[in-house]
Symmetry: C2
Subunit: 321 residues, 2 copies
């Protein structure tokens, strides 16, 4: 029997999991990233975590074929370099080499959202579909496209930045330097921001009472969902508007990529039908009927583990297995 | 020495060309399609044209490896079926089998715009680039994406319908059933339509005098370019607006596909800088700077022959050469 390790290095936590050859997750451990202590510290911690995971599982390292790693930001998967990851404050970090040197194992890295969608495509909610568009609604809005088991990268490995297409009527400046990027409204951050702005502009909402004097900045996307369920008109407007924007953004992606299935993951997916009902409505209105008729839409199977399973399975594929 | 035949079956003409193994066009012949006489008539004509082309070139049929065919509309390249081609009035036509039966040669078909872009990528203006987005501005607006020499198809071979993404402020109904599709404004037809609408709404233009009593419907995109060159304010507004819409539409495609190069072909490309200057301006404004910095934009090398060369080279690739 041989095994793979999948790893997700996020701005907050590192999750490290052991899978079998088929992507079955056997065990996992989690530690805070502590990115402020620098990449060397993080890599030393990863070395320790790999040892600990193997010890805990009773697996000899020689039975592990490779480590797959997902990190946020712009990644060069061929060179194994994290080109830029704002969350980690990493720039031109040789992630694959650093981890390989410490563990003695082959290491393959890629963007964390690509790995998440890869996991869902290979052994999650999109299993059996040939053309998979996966999105994650979290702090931002990210996407990846997989065709016949292969990730779509585009030039500079930069394809799929759905969060940075511009839609009219989005007034927010984006970290990327533009104004009106989809993710400034369609994300956990964006939902909270829309609610705060409406309240600041004087629109009444139950959220104001729930704040009990705390500052507006403490409102989260989860609060907006709660207010929606309480029948709050402001919260209903925000989630309808966000769903509309997501539907229109996805319509463009569907027309250009022609996916068989859209998988929706990330913490923002917890808004569920509050967001998905208006999204479907506007998506159907905004694509040629031939696309809509053959399209399946599903929420992701995993909120947490698709990234580590995807990383492990992508490493297996890149070994040429 | 062995050869390939590339064929472009359009709504107006059939062009049939002979190339060498490297895509060098050696000879070509052209005849009207006469699509009204039915597909059987068209296929018989194609059989005759292939014979005539070989006779004219002095090439024995046994030295021709395959025929590649581009037709408009939705194509199933694996089954060799023209699923639906409005221009030809064909629906579920077994194009590859019909031509193969008549010529005794292997036949591979695909969408004509994919073949055009493939030609430009393999031996035209996009040679040497890994990720090629090609568009043709003609009666409609079509696009194809090629990555490392491979066409991107998506589910149902339906990817790349750039002409059918919706942009705000486009009021025109589209043949696809939606309203506001990019190609209803950004196309030869769309440019002419915008000019007609402005004149009908009372905007003064030199085009009115040029008409000399002919109906507004006779205005073409070429007329609009001519009026632009004469300093006509209406024509300048139409081409600026069209360039802006194209730039914004391309911005979305760049963000999702991340091409290294955009190739622009089709008759509408003859508008040249009148269209491309505003297009570049709005494209640069509407994409993350990281895309813009690595992007090359070129007009197609061929207006006429890329389709037949591309079809011939695609057939060679599909033979497994």
């Amino acid at each position: 029997m041989s095994y793979l390790i999948g790893m997700d290095i996020g701005g907050t936590n590192i999750v490290c999991g052991l899978t079998d050859e088929n992507g079955k997750l056997l065990d996992k451990i989690k530690e805070p990233t502590e990115t402020a202590k620098g990449s060397g510290y993080v890599f030393d911690k990863i070395e320790r975590m790999v040892g600990e995971l193997l010890l805990k599982s009773g697996i000899d390292k020689f039975h592990v074929r490779a480590i797959g790693v997902g990190t946020p930001g712009f990644i060069d998967p061929v060179k194994g370099v994290t080109v830029f990851a704002g969350n980690l404050q990493w720039r031109q970090v040789h992630t694959a080499d650093e981890i390989s040197r410490r563990t003695g194992l082959p290491v393959f890295i890629d963007n964390d959202v690509r790995m998440y969608v890869y996991g869902e495509a290979i052994c999650g909610a999109a299993q059996g579909f040939s053309h998979v568009l996966g999105i994650t609604i979290g702090t931002g809005l990210a996407a990846a496209m997989i065709n016949d088991g292969k990730l779509y990268y585009g030039g500079g490995y930069m394809a799929g930045e759905l969060g940075h297409i511009l839609l009219p009527d989005i007034p927010y400046p984006c970290g990327c330097g533009m104004t009106g990027c989809l993710e400034t409204a369609v994300s956990g951050t964006g939902i909270a921001r829309q609610a705060r702005d409406r309240i600041a502009a004087g629109q009444p909402s139950v959220l104001q009472q729930w704040l009990e004097g705390r500052p507006l900045e403490t409102i989260t996307a989860a609060d907006v969902s709660k207010a929606y369920d309480a029948g709050d008109a402001m919260a209903i407007e925000v989630l309808n508007h966000t769903g509309m924007l997501l539907g229109k953004g996805l319509a463009t992606a569907v027309t250009l990529y022609s996916p068989d299935i859209i998988i929706i993951g990330g913490g923002g997916a917890l808004a569920g039908e509050r967001l998905f009902a208006p999204m479907r409505h506007y998506l159907q209105q905004s694509v040629y009927s031939g696309y809509w008729e053959r399209l399946t839409i599903r929420t992701a199977q995993w909120i947490d583990d698709a990234g580590i399973v995807g990383s492990a399975m992508a490493a297996k594929q890149r070994l040429g297995a």
